[in-house]
Amino acid sequence: MTREHITTTINGDPVEFLCDAEQTLLDVLRDELRLTGSKEGCASGDCGACSVTLDGRLVCACLVLAAEVEGHEVTTIEGMAVGDQLHPLQQKFLDHAALQCGVCTPGFLVAAKALLDRNSNPTETEVRFWLAGNLCRCTGYDKIVRAVLDTAAEMRG
């Protein structure tokens, strides 16, 4: 099978990879590039554990074909902290104990950042509906929602 040669940008860096036509972006991020922060919980776009942004738009990496990212910009959880500086959302998730097992956490953080990039002052309801595509089975969502609201408040200053 001939593999596709893809040139793209991931977390700000130029990246090239070879992929099968059937491989998803998630397959390539994990199995080819070893960016395993994006998780596969369902492979059907229902759990949000593989949330990444594609040209700033929040997507499930399991629903994007790897070949589709040719010439586009992908951001994953690995691109969220800058050096040793955690993004405020990452810090607030820790402060609020907004994770237990942590497997959904990368997806929630990427999704929450996409929300705050668009809406710096979301209501609790807006947060809950924006994050409704991310499943968490441990926390009951309470501390996650509080962490996002608190981050928004802090970033507004």
Binding site: D20, E22, R30, D31, R34, L35, T36, G37, S38, K39, E40, G41, C42, A43, S44, D46, C47, T76, I77, E78, M80, A81, L86, Q90, F93, L94, H96, A97, L99, Q100, C101, G102, V103, C104, T105, P106, L109, E124, T125, V127, R128, F129, L131, A132, N134, L135, C136, R137, C138, T139, G140, Y141, D142, K143, I144, V145, R146, D150, A152, A153
Partner: protein
């Protein structure tokens, strides 16, 4: 801003019942694994890769029940890129009596070897029939399509009552019911009958002014962890093997795999990855023995990861149940007798959690006359695995629903009714032992005085309450504290951290040593690093692990005192350990400068060599935990959709080592319960195949389905633990089913006796009463 501040304040600043003598226990300290988890660095089950690694895939039965006449692997094995294949022929058989307790469940190796790979029959849709390892996933999938299996499809049975009927299709043709005297002569699907209780039911019911009897039915549900089962096995040519897997117990997984691979336990080293949720469902093995067997054949590492579809069809789940409950009470609200008959789906092999359900059903009450009977019933579903307080949510759903109806009939406040009958220290529990210090009354009284319970409902809303109970367990646990040459301390524990236990164990270690928290760094050791550790389950880790790390700290302190005594040339009895320092006392008081960890550590070599604090124990005396939940619901009468408007969890933690993670357990359990009560269920077609094996159709609660979950941590210390800890993880899933059902009854004046109360069921009920 103000709203956020209020939320923040609610969360962070209050509810601390902190003992001023404690420096770390009771605080909301940073979590040692936190940064790895928010940066994507943490390695979960599917995140490990090895050079020369193969991908394994499982062929699963498309039939709910079928005899396997033959399996032909030849075409699959001939496919280029396929390196190994395994079937039933690659695993040993074990006799029926090969059983061993494991956590809250019992392991039967006759059954386990058949569950990981079908032998005579495929017993449920999704049952593993063969597995292959190939150079990549695509080739592995292609190989599966080339395996030829000749099935004789058999009649199947899913529903527990259908499975109990004479003439039902037999899941196991030679199964004679245990626990019945004399033993039945004919085989049936009833694996076991259990009975618990005391007193005289006839006498008790004769004293009752009101007797209410109801039958309940619930559909089976799945634990729903977000991370699918995953492992990576590497067997070498000399018969040694390594296994990385997502598990609640790597020592337990090691034992199972060694048994199934017929190898020495010591030759298998298991490392637990970070675990992406388990809730009991990762206490058993599925892929691990297959990956090891494939790796042994191929002499290459083999990685296996379940799809979500496989997780639903072939792992977990817990039982659906049919339950009959009868309770009698006097006019003044004293329960005179309680009886329950519980019938649970076990799945393809015996071992449903019906014994625990029967034990817990009436546990919140101090009763003179009580009896519970449980039936463990085979059906053509995956063998059930533990699910958070296994069985208890079901039994207590039925009992707490009838208790609520009794209170309403007698016109007594439901919390007051429960208080009149509440179990307390010295009560004979409904299943045998006398209770020690427990917090049942305290949780009910806290609920009575809570702002939520005192608030006024909005029009159309309903409010429900329910109590819940779980035993909690202790068990075999090992911990080691290694003093490093700079005075910092490496803590090694052997229980996978499923929700923050590294934080609580480190806090207790620092507390017991009297050192700064950031000087103690924890890690979860692999199976070669420590003595045996039972799995993470039974809400045992902070309890039993706390005893172990405290014991290891005491061992280390004894050695530290010895080194100081030797340095000062004073008797050991004249050296005490205070505030993280060795201090000379008695006749030597103020004659020597205190020695801290660094002082002793830097001269370790000269004073006797490495200092290692160890503790291996079989922790006993786990304190049971009681909870009481309050919930308000809205019901949309046009669609039948029930929405939770407000929810409060009140539960006894004994002592909350890290209150944030205790609250997290309460909140997470409540929301799992909301899912179980309102939406979650396996749906089967007429052929016994699952119709909703995905998160789109098996609907777990999402963020927009639920409100904030308020919590109150009650602390009635457990006297057997150095810091008073009780397990907290499981009890939160016990009360929600009944609490929500009671709230729906309060809103609609309709008593639901079936779960889930999904929109179609609720709408049908509303329409049937006009």
């Amino acid at each position: 801003m103000a709203a956020v501040e209020k939320i923040f304040n609610d969360t962070i600043t209050d509810r601390e019942t902190q003992d001023k003598t404690l420096k770390w226990v009771g605080t909301r300290a940073p979590r040692p694994d936190g940064v790895d988890k928010v940066t994507g660095r943490a390695k979960f089950g599917a995140d490990t890769y090895l050079p020369n690694m193969l991908y394994g895939k499982v062929l699963r039965s498309p039939h709910a029940h079928a005899r396997i006449r033959s399996i032909d692997m030849s075409r699959a094995l001939a496919l280029p890129g396929v390196k190994a294949g395994v079937t039933r022929d690659d695993f040993p058989d074990y006799p029926a009596g090969a059983v061993q307790p494991a956590g809250e469940m019992v392991i039967n190796y006759r059954d386990m070897t058949r569950n990981i790979m079908a032998r005579e029959k495929a017993l449920y849709e999704g049952h593993a029939v063969a597995a292959v390892a190939a150079v990549n996933e695509r080739v592995a999938r292609q190989a599966l399509s080339l395996i030829e299996v000749d099935y004789e499809v058999l009649p199947h049975v899913i529903d527990v009552e259908e499975a109990m009927k004479p003439g039902a299709p037999l899941v196991r043709e030679d199964l004679i019911t245990e626990g019945v005297e004399p033993a039945p002569e004919e085989p049936s699907n009833i694996a076991k009958r259990v009975e618990f209780g005391h007193g005289d039911l006839d006498l008790g019911f004769s004293k009752a002014d009101v007797i209410i009897e109801r039958s309940f039915k619930t559909q089976p549900v799945h634990q729903g962890y977000i991370e699918p089962h995953a492992c990576l096995a590497s067997f070498s040519e000399d018969g040694q093997a390594e296994l990385w897997c997502s598990t609640q117990g790597h020592y337990v997984a090691r034992g199972h795999c060694a048994k199934l691979l017929q190898m020495d336990v010591s030759k298998l080293r298991v490392t637990c990855s970070e675990i992406g949720g388990g809730f009991g469902g990762k206490t058993v093995v599925y892929l691990e023995p297959l990956a090891l067997a494939l790796s042994r054949k191929a002499c290459q590492p083999v990685k296996m990861v379940m799809t979500r579809d496989e997780v639903f069809r072939a792992s977990g789940p817990t039982s659906g149940a049919s339950m009959d409950v009868r309770i009698g009470a006097t006019k003044d609200g004293r329960i005179t007798a309680g009886e329950a008959v519980l019938k649970f789906q076990a799945g393809a092999f015996g071992g449903s959690p019906v014994p625990a359900a029967a034990q817990c059903a009436f546990a919140p009450y101090d009763l003179d006359n009580v009896k519970t009977i449980g039936f463990d019933v085979l059906c053509n579903r995956p063998k059930v695995a533990a699910y958070r307080a296994p069985g208890a949510p079901l039994g207590e759903y039925a009992v707490e629903s009838v208790v609520d109806e009794l209170a309403k009939t007698l016109e007594i406040d439901p919390l007051e009714f429960r208080l009149k009958n509440a179990a307390k220290e010295g009560s004979d529990s409904s299943y045998g032992p006398k209770f020690g210090p427990i917090g049942c009354v305290e949780t009910l009284e806290t609920a009575q005085n809570h702002d939520h319970y005192l608030s006024t409902l909005k029009p159309g809303q309903g409010r429900g309450v329910a109590s819940g109970y779980w035993f909690n367990i202790g068990g075999q646990t090992s911990a080691t504290l290694n003093l490093c040459e700079d005075g910092s301390v490496a803590l090694v524990v052997g229980t996978p951290d499923i929700g923050g236990s590294r934080a609580s164990l480190t806090m207790m270690a620092a507390e017991s040593l009297g050192v700064e928290l950031d000087k103690v760094r924890p890690l979860i050791g692999d199976t070669s690093a420590l003595g045996y550790n039972m799995l993470t389950g039974g809400s045992r880790v902070t309890f039993a692990g706390g005893i172990a790390v405290h014991g290891a700290a005491e061992d280390m302190i004894k050695q530290l005192r010895e080194r100081a005594a030797a340095t000062w040339d004073v008797p050991i009895d004249d050296v005490e350990w205070h505030g993280g320092q060795a201090v000379a006392v008695n006749g030597y008081k103020d004659q020597e400068d205190p020695m801290g960890l660094l002082d002793i550590a830097k001269d370790m070599a000269k004073s006797g060599g490495p200092i290692v604090g160890r503790c291996s124990t079989n922790a006993q005396g786990a304190g049971p935990s009681f909870g009481c939940h309050i919930v308000d619901v809205d019901v949309d009468k046009e669609t039948g959709k029930v929405s939770v408007a407000r929810y409060t969890v009140i539960q006894d933690a004994g002592k909350a080592v890290h209150p944030s993670y205790v609250e997290g357990q309460y909140q997470g359990g409540a929301v799992q319960g909301i899912g179980w009560a309102l939406n979650e269920e396996y749906i089967y077609d007429e052929n016994g195949k699952v119709e909703n094996a995905g998160f789109l159709d098996y609907r777990v609660p999402v963020c927009s389905d639920v409100p904030m979950i308020d919590t109150v941590i009650v602390e009635v210390p457990n006297p057997t633990h150095p810091y008073g800890v009780r397990g907290v993880g499981e009890t939160p899933l016990v009360p929600p089913l009944a609490a929500i059902s009671n709230a729906v009854e309060n809103a609609l004046d309709i008593r639901f006796t079936e779960l889930p109360m999904s929109p179609p069921r609720v709408l049908a009920a509303i329409e049937s009463v006009g």
